[in-house]
């Protein structure tokens, strides 16, 4: 069927004086299938669009080419206008003759403007309609990890009316903050109680994920609980798997023993100081020996130092290289600690730590004094290295998710921050993303809850149907696209008793086209940026070469 292309040139209020518009118009009229060329001065304004719309209707135009300012400004408005005129919004092809032509070059740019217009015309020939459709989404949410962040996600989602399944590997909910007096304080007990009483939250303890398939709106998950294996479906998944603290004995050159204690042990002591045989005279905290680039040890050390002063009255030393105070309120706590007599000793070279006479001897060069000093501590609280939770790698491969350079959840790509993953519908909150603090974890939770709610609450999602599509006839089931898709949006589906082919999830697809470029059988069509369309643009340049 004959297509009828309408070309609309805009001279931006007649200001694009280095383009000879009548000449462009004249040459554009000669292009094949072009039935109308119009010159306008303000296509971006309402009156300009109205003019264009009446021309489209009168001229029975079915493909619209607009040569004007950058598509980044008005593409959306133009697409809406096409819908108003009864045309499919995808039948639009734009040429940037302002920012990337008239404004970018000195002297006459008529030739270039014409070529850009011709490129857009050639591309328009190959445009196909795109239809929006509603796809159902499963409104249930999977939360992996029953610590502070996981519990908070579950509670907040339940408050908003979304049912969650909270899967926890351990015996009970609570996580790493259980029993710790944190600053700010987190109400672990009341959260746990609230979850138990909430009928919209299903808690599965001693449970682990074993398999994960599907995409956003339709994840199929297998959960192993004891001897049972449960199958569940979810619309979205939120990871809150926390972190694993580790004390690296090598960093301290002596085995963790009675006098080199973990933060956990200190907490125990602080809870019941009367149980100690002897009041410790000196307690030391050592930081920046295992990992200089971590906040959490500083935050814990500062809070604990104050607690020690209050409850044990001991001398307190904090040995560190650079104090990490880049969290809210921490500078204040640091100053308070100093006011209360906590001694901060800064070093450049690692301190030498050893056991002597039943105490811990810390020798280092105090850079403020400019001298070697020796401090004997009754207890030295060891810095904990913040590591990814055990099983993070396995979990990430179950859900085909990337991990970062240190093994934590969520790739380090800034476009994903704060809580998204490269796979739509999967989020990571809290410490599982890497070094974090409670306040930031709390903000993470709110972001993830909001994003999940927006995704699932309506029960359906609007997608452009089959914008990127695998042709089942051409698909050779090589699985390349499935492996290559950075968003995990492609899966195998059965088409008949004999064949499976790749299929792209409209909802999970982010429209990058990487699959289309890599498919060896050229079985993937990307409407708008298909091979035909791109090659047509290239050829149009060639016509005048």
């Amino acid at each position: 069927m004959q297509i009828r292309i309408g070309v609309f040139l805009c001279d931006c209020g007649k200001s694009l004086s280095n383009i000879d518009f009548p000449k462009v118009s004249e040459r554009a009229e000669k292009l094949q299938d072009v039935v109308h060329v119009g010159l306008h001065s303000n296509l971006c304004l309402k009156e300009g669009i109205e003019e264009m719309l009446s021309t489209i209707r009168d001229g029975a135009i079915d493909r619209v080419v607009i040569a004007a300012c950058s598509p980044k400004l008005k593409e959306d408005a133009f697409r809406n206008a096409l819908e108003e005129a009864g045309l499919n919004s995808n039948f639009l092809s734009l040429a940037n003759i302002r920012e990337q032509c008239s404004w970018a070059h000195e002297g006459d740019v008529t030739e270039k403007a014409l070529e850009l217009t011709a490129m857009a015309v050639e591309r328009a020939r190959f445009l196909k309609p795109l239809v929006k459709k509603d796809v159902p989404v499963n409104k249930e949410v999977l939360v992996v990890g029953g610590g502070f962040a996981g519990m908070k996600v579950a509670l907040d989602l339940a408050n908003l009316g979304l049912r969650t399944t909270l899967v926890e590997r351990g015996l009970a909910l609570g996580g790493r903050l259980e029993g710790f007096e944190t600053n700010p304080a987190v109400p672990i007990n009341s959260m746990r109680k609230a979850i138990e009483e909430n009928r919209d939250i299903e808690v599965l303890t001693s449970a682990e994920l074993t398999r994960g398939e599907g995409e956003v709106g339709d994840f199929s998950i297998r959960i192993k609980k004891g001897d049972e294996e449960l199958s569940r479906s979810f619309g979205a998944i939120i990871f809150a798997t926390g972190y694993r603290p580790e004390i690296s004995p090598g960093d301290f050159q002596l085995r963790p023993g009675v006098n080199l204690i973990s933060q956990e042990k200190l907490t125990e002591i602080l809870k019941a100081p009367e149980r100690l045989e002897l009041r410790p005279k000196t307690i030391g905290f050592v930081l920046d020996v295992s990992d200089e680039n971590c906040r959490l040890p500083t935050l814990s050390a500062l809070n604990d130092a104050l607690a020690v002063k209050e409850r044990l009255g001991s001398e307190v030393y904090v040995f560190c290289k650079s104090l990490k105070v880049d969290s809210e309120g921490v500078e204040e706590v640091y100053r308070e600690a100093r006011d209360r007599g906590v001694v901060f000793v800064k070093f450049e070279e690692r301190p030498r730590i050893c056991s002597e006479d039943g105490r811990v001897k810390v020798e280092l060069n105090d850079i403020l004094l400019g001298d070697e000093i020796t401090v004997f501590c009754d207890f030295l609280v060891a810095e904990e290295r913040i590591m990814p939770s055990e099983g993070t790698e396995a979990l990430s491969s179950i859900l085909k998710m990337r991990i970062d350079s240190r093994g934590f959840c969520q790739d380090e790509n800034v476009h994903l921050y704060p809580v998204s993953c490269e796979r739509k519908g999967i989020f990571c909150v809290g410490a599982c993303r890497g070094d974090l603090d409670i306040a930031r974890a709390s903000t993470d939770v709110a972001s993830a809850v909001l994003s999940t709610y927006e995704l699932l609450a309506p029960g359906t999602a609007i997608v452009e149907a089959e914008r990127v599509k695998v042709d089942p006839e051409k698909c050779r089931v090589c699985l390349t696209c499935i492996r290559v898709c950075p968003h995990g949006a492609i899966r195998l589906v059965r088409v008949d008793t004999e064949r499976e082919v790749a299929q792209i999830s409209d909802l999970a697809c982010e429209g990058c086209g990487i699959c289309a470029a890599i498919c060896p059988a050229k079985a993937i069509d990307f409407e708008g940026y298909g091979d035909e369309q791109i090659l047509a643009e290239v050829q149009a340049i060639g016509e005048s070469l």
Partner: protein, 414 residues
Amino acid sequence: METSSLVIGGGVAGVAAALALADNGSQVYLIETEPSIGGWAASFCCKATDVCTKCSVCVVPQKLQQVAIHPHISILTDSMVAGLSGGIGNFKVEVLQKPQYIPPERCIACGMCAEVCPTEPKAIRSPSPEAVPYSYVLDESRCLRLKGETCDLCRDICPTNAIDFNHEPEKKELGVGAIIVATGFEVFDAREMGCLGYGRYPNVLTGLDLERIFNREGYLKLPSNGKDPKKVAFVQCIGSRDESHGYCSQVCCKYAIRFARLIKYQNPNAEVTIFYIDLQTAGKGFAQFYEECQKNIRFVRGLPVEVLGTSSGELEVRFENISEGTVKRETFDVVALSVGISPKKDSWDLARTLGINLGECGFFDAKEPLNSNETNVEGIFLAGTCQGPRDIPDSIAHGMAAAQSAMEVLERCK
């Protein structure tokens, strides 16, 4: 009960909050005092060398564009909050809009008005390249017509008849269910530390100046003579962690290290030194290139106390090298002051209008530490640096968290 919301401030946090609420189906009014949205981040630069350094500046343009085309967001530029009444679920907000002599919805950015403007410097200026909306702006203080003289050149030439000198300030009343304050920050004025020479010597710059220079030019040349930098010093904690600013500004160590790295990459023979108290290098994605930096950037513990110009146009910096225990003088050709995030001085105006509290450091006060979005007024939430220093990703997260709190209010109103 109102189901729409108001976001005060169009910087990254406000934009993130507005998008989150609008995507959920609510009508959002986004008001901004400047003629365009985007705040500070829109004017910042990418700090990548051969790899991305996670500064997050590149995430901004897309978000601004999404706001511009979103059917549920109404942007009101040149606007501020003049009054508030009512309460949660039912706020009545009085918005005052400055006269928009060139209304953005009529301006096609052809630039002809600026071409014919007779004043020098021009009273009509082109928008910054990143501006959303991308429309020309009239500077009242320079315009002849607004000063009472006869001049109609711009109005006559405007092809869309957009320019109207009869525009008056407009008062609008908006009914909203929830309010998010995202008014951002001010940078510490480095001139207050006179001994460091900012404002006196052209080659003493702030971190903000560097952002602008790289955003425009793509590389750093000495402001005094246009030559390549050879010896660069960064001075941390300017306007933070001191007597009058009892907080860490959170962003400065990271941006200084990124800039230091970038300058070194562009000028491999340059010597770059960072003077610091404690280096803040924690955070996802940062450790990897910090470690690499330790090889070719000099880190000196100890802040300079004085910067003096020499007769040869260099800058002599006097500092204590704490690690060595010596007081030294060294010359540099550029000194970059890492200025901190400060609360806006006019925050107390808005605080009074809305009835929300300011905290000790001058930022808006969050009610509780575990929820740093809630204020003392139900239904009014905080987003971004107006509540405390934070970087771009944290501001976006904070904005989304504020939107979540606001959404809970609006859901109850439905």
